[in-house]
Amino acid sequence: MVHWLGDRLGAALCVGFALLLWSGLAHSQEPPEPTAPLNVAVFGDSLADGLHAGLYFALRNNPRIAEVEKLSRVSTGISNWRYVHVGEATAAQLAERQVDIAIIMFGANDIQGVVENGRVFPFRTEHWERVYRQRIRMITALLIDHGARVYWVGLPRMRSQRYDSNTVYLNAMFAEEVERLGATFIATRPLTMDAEGGYTAFGEDSGGVRRLIRADDGIHMTLRGYRMIARPVAARINAEVDQIAIRRRQRSALEAFIRTEPEFFGARRLARDVIAAGFDREDWLCRPAEPGEIEALDPFSPGGILGARGDPRRPAAG
């Protein structure tokens, strides 16, 4: 289970070869005309709500961005999936819309145990961490397979020392798991610390004047604060938006190919593998595929992520 990713990514040498060919081809044909504007969506909890507000204003003047949608929901998290199963909720949200750039910010509500089959695993225990990491991967993979470029935004410095040490731990997990899947982790912690690395409720605005950036609870932020942490995220998106647009077009071309072309010497399957290996995961291991493995990894197969229903990677308890 843990190595599903490596297995999946190492689909076949020939897929890699095909991808190389394809990307070379695509780059040589790089279209001069602009691509359609991209949809940005923010997933997460109440901190993500605020991040959305900041990002909305930071990206509104970018003509390459169609809209910045708020798909976050307060009081949700990755630990407690009995209340809101974020995996299922995200899949349902993705079924209704095209998301090209996904921003995720979770974790503030996650300082609690997880439940599997009626058993409670307390926060920061071994099994808890295994489940938690699995869920991070699951959400990230869900979005990547949907065709989105994923940016995971880390938690800011918290006022309470104990809470803060837990967010450091969560941030490390986010960064590690997300980057392994080829997504980007953006830290906000350095922006919300003073020179000594301590909590500060004030940050300097563009004019160099110190302003309140944190809410009373020492967890949430003021609108000014959200705009501040949204800035690096927006900068990253602005820098990569053209590249993301091109990749999206390549992907849709392949998908159109799968939909329209008749099966010819496994060409359609090859195209699917290209999508799976080249677009859904940016790094992959080159090793020969086991028989049947490609089928299992196919996102369009009944068990696949774009297939009918049921995600084999979802933890059994849900």
Binding site: Y83, Q112, V114, V115, P122
Partner: protein, 112 residues
């Protein structure tokens, strides 16, 4: 207190201890019966509350017990009224202007 004849009459205290006791018992019964009826007809609400609590062994036990309770109430058909109202209301929320512009009947939009 500012004069408010309407409420002055309503708040007029019970004239003696016996009537006070009767009123208190009446109010207490209303609350207890109300709580019982809500527990039966609105079992879902309590389960949702338990699910939103951070899980520890005790909370999980309570939640599972409440879940069983909800299942029983569900089998008895008591949760149906709440669900019916909820579904109708959701359908109403999804209504768009295009759905009601031409003279389509209300039933048509509701049945979706």
């Amino acid at each position: 207190m500012r004069p408010d004849p309407e409420r002055d009459a309503i708040y007029a205290p019970a004239v003696d201890d016996i009537r006070h006791a009767r009123n208190r018992i009446w109010t207490g019964r209303c609350l207890v019966l109300g709580a019982l009826l809500m527990a039966m007809f609105n079992a879902e609400g309590v389960v949702r509350w338990a699910a939103s609590q951070p899980p520890v062994w005790a909370v999980e036990t309570v939640r599972l017990t409440l879940q069983t309770w909800e299942d029983r109430m569900d089998q008895a058909g008591l949760t149906a009224p709440r669900q019916l109202i909820g579904e109708r209301y959701e359908a109403l929320k999804r209504l768009q202007w295009a759905d009601i512009e031409p003279e389509t009947s209300e039933d048509e939009t509701r049945s979706r």
